[in-house]
Amino acid sequence: MAVDIRNVAKKREQRYSYGLTLLRDCIERDRDLPREEDIFKKVILKVEDITISFGGLTALSDVNLELKEGELLAIIGPNGAGKTTLLNVISGFYRPQKGNIYFQDKRITHYSSHRIAAMGICRTFQNIALYTGLSVIDNIIAGRHPHIKYNFLNGMLYFPWARREEARQRAIAEDIVDFLEMEHVRNTTVGMLSYGLRKRAELGRALALEPRILLLDEPMAGMNLDEKEDIARFIIDIHEFLRIPIVMIEHDMGVVMDIADRIAVLDFGVKIGDGTPEEISKNPKVVSAYLGSTGE
């Protein structure tokens, strides 16, 4: 059942709430939220026949993709199919040779990636981009960068404004740590954490940016069963409870089949399938791409 972000529950006290209360208040204040009737209908992110090549090697050719409100889109495909390159293009790290990207009907193809991040397109990386020198809580507070409201001058003076703002940001960061159940590793440096906890910390950093959409790059790669369960639970919570549309790259078909609303299949830079999990599992082209042609 589509539980819309606004009327999930009345303002509950943080201790007895469903979690992420402070973050939800921030998202409601900063972002323009989907109306109830837009869920699964209004397109929020449109990728229009993107082509990109690195000196002769075409990583993506004419890829079209749409992400609707409140949808969990999984992108699957064999290694080297251009999945990560697609995410890099969306988040502004690479400039496509051809094609455009529209976010809320605004062309953002050539925006610099920090502007795109500040607009609410947050992403996590396959090989984790965190500050291994800082502790988990500092990483998350660093993720709050675009939403911290004081300039560096009264930052230097620190006392009245900056101090209050830092405390407020720390509270939001703690809210995320509590949601991701990382209280016991809150102060350990990220360098000393296990792989699963680092992926969770990175998810926390992406959340700290008050995402309007989330781009997850193989959130469950290289994890044991328990860690996969935890991360899957968090992703489902974020998707259903905060109503954040998610684009997820994943290899584990079991996970993809049961939590994805829609699946897009990429093979050698070409989109060969797009639809609900049932359609995709029966689509002949996808089957042949994955299992090799059946040779008849």
Binding site: H114, C122, A129, Y131, P146, A167
Partner: protein, 355 residues
């Protein structure tokens, strides 16, 4: 379990303000206040020669803190820091001489001028990753030296300019070295307090983000180029202020005081002091300036040894010895005195446990 080293047993935080305090327990607050009180008391105890050394310590601590912000925190290498200190001195002199500003008016301007110039030079270098800012700052050094030497009408070229200390203020005559030292110390404490807070807040974190992993910084919505330029600007502001208060003591400024060698020693002794911490910067400045004082004592001895060539000997000695210290220090302890100090402090606090 990881023991929270900087909290003794039994101190817990009731709100986030307490959690963020630097000096959490009363003992540490008391120690810091006591240290500052001693520094002020020194003004009335020691003789004028020591006062001059202390003033130089303070001035160069401010300069080194500026370089710490550029290099230690934001990871950009600046080879023109001494030149920007010079710009600070000259702006002070120019405003005081040509436009008749008094000391208090000219001081902030002495910081702003190098900041603006620094940012101008920084802009070309920050667009791409790597040590291009080092080259840009090197170019800045020569351009500044050239303009000062050749803009005779304003900076009357190579024969230097005069600076003035502030006149009487509330009955304190700053011409007396003691009171000027107190003024310098106060400015230093304020500047270091600003730097400490800068590191704790949003901009400081974005400096560290840019230094450690600029892809992650980009993803967090940090405008990398702007952050690097701002870091360079703030660093040069500190250099300017350092120049102004340092210059105020001698009340004379000359081009020879800030050569390329000084810029290199700035960088070298910053690394000796320790990157990435305010204390490291101050330690580097103190080491550098004590070596300076020692080398001035050494010259009579070298004169006796080498006979006539004393003039060259002392310059050569300081060059050779300093560079040896920097190289040896870098090879043996790349993270500087501060890192060694942190290890000792941590080992003491963790006693008797190892981790």
């Amino acid at each position: 379990m990881t023991i929270n080293v900087d909290r003794p047993c039994g101190t817990f935080d009731r709100n986030y303000y307490q959690a963020m305090e630097i000096f959490r327990t009363h003992l540490r607050k008391f120690l810091m206040i006591a240290f500052i009180a001693v520094m002020y008391a020194l003004a009335f105890i020691v003789d004028d020669y020591i006062i001059s050394i202390l003033i130089v310590f303070c001035a160069f601590s401010v300069g080194m803190t500026g370089l710490q912000i550029i290099t230690g925190y934001a990871g950009q290498i600046s080879l023109g820091h001494a030149a920007f200190m010079g710009v600070g001195m000259y702006t002070m002199a120019i405003f005081q001489e040509h436009l008749g500003f008094n000391f208090w008016m000219a001081l902030p301007l002495a910081g702003l001028a190098p900041m603006i110039i620094g940012m101008l030079f920084g802009i070309p270098a920050v667009r791409i990753k790597g040590l291009y800012l080092a080259f840009a700052s090197l170019a800045a050094h020569f351009v500044i030296v050239y303009t000062i030497n050749n803009w005779r009408s304003v900076t009357n070229g190579t024969d230097g300019m005069y600076l003035h200390r502030p006149g009487k203020l509330l009955g304190i005559d700053f011409m007396v070295d003691k009171y000027y030292y107190i003024l310098v110390l106060t400015v230093t404490i304020i500047m270091i307090y600003f730097a400490k807070n800068l590191i704790r807040t949003k901009l400081g974190r974005s400096f560290v983000a840019v230094r450690d992993n600029d892809i992650a910084a980009e993803v967090m919505g940090i405008n990398i180029a702007a952050t690097k330029v701002l870091a360079f600007g703030i660093g040069c502001f500190y250099a300017g202020i350092a120049g102004a208060i340092g210059g105020g003591y001698y009340e004379y400024v000359n081009v020879e005081w800030f050569t390329l060698t000084d810029s290199i020693w700035y960088l070298g002794f910053l690394v000796v002091g320790g990157l990435g911490s305010i204390f490291g910067g101050i330690a580097g400045a103190v080491v550098w300036k004590t070596l300076d004082e020692l080398s001035t004592l050494v010259t009579p001895i070298t004169e006796a040894l080498l006979g006539g060539m004393a003039f060259y000997a002392s310059a050569a000695f300081s060059l050779v010895i300093y560079s040896l210290i920097v190289i040896v220090m870098l090879v043996l302890e790349p993270r500087g005195i501060n890192h060694r100090w942190q290890i000792i402090k941590r080992s003491y606090r963790l006693h008797p446990f190892p981790y």
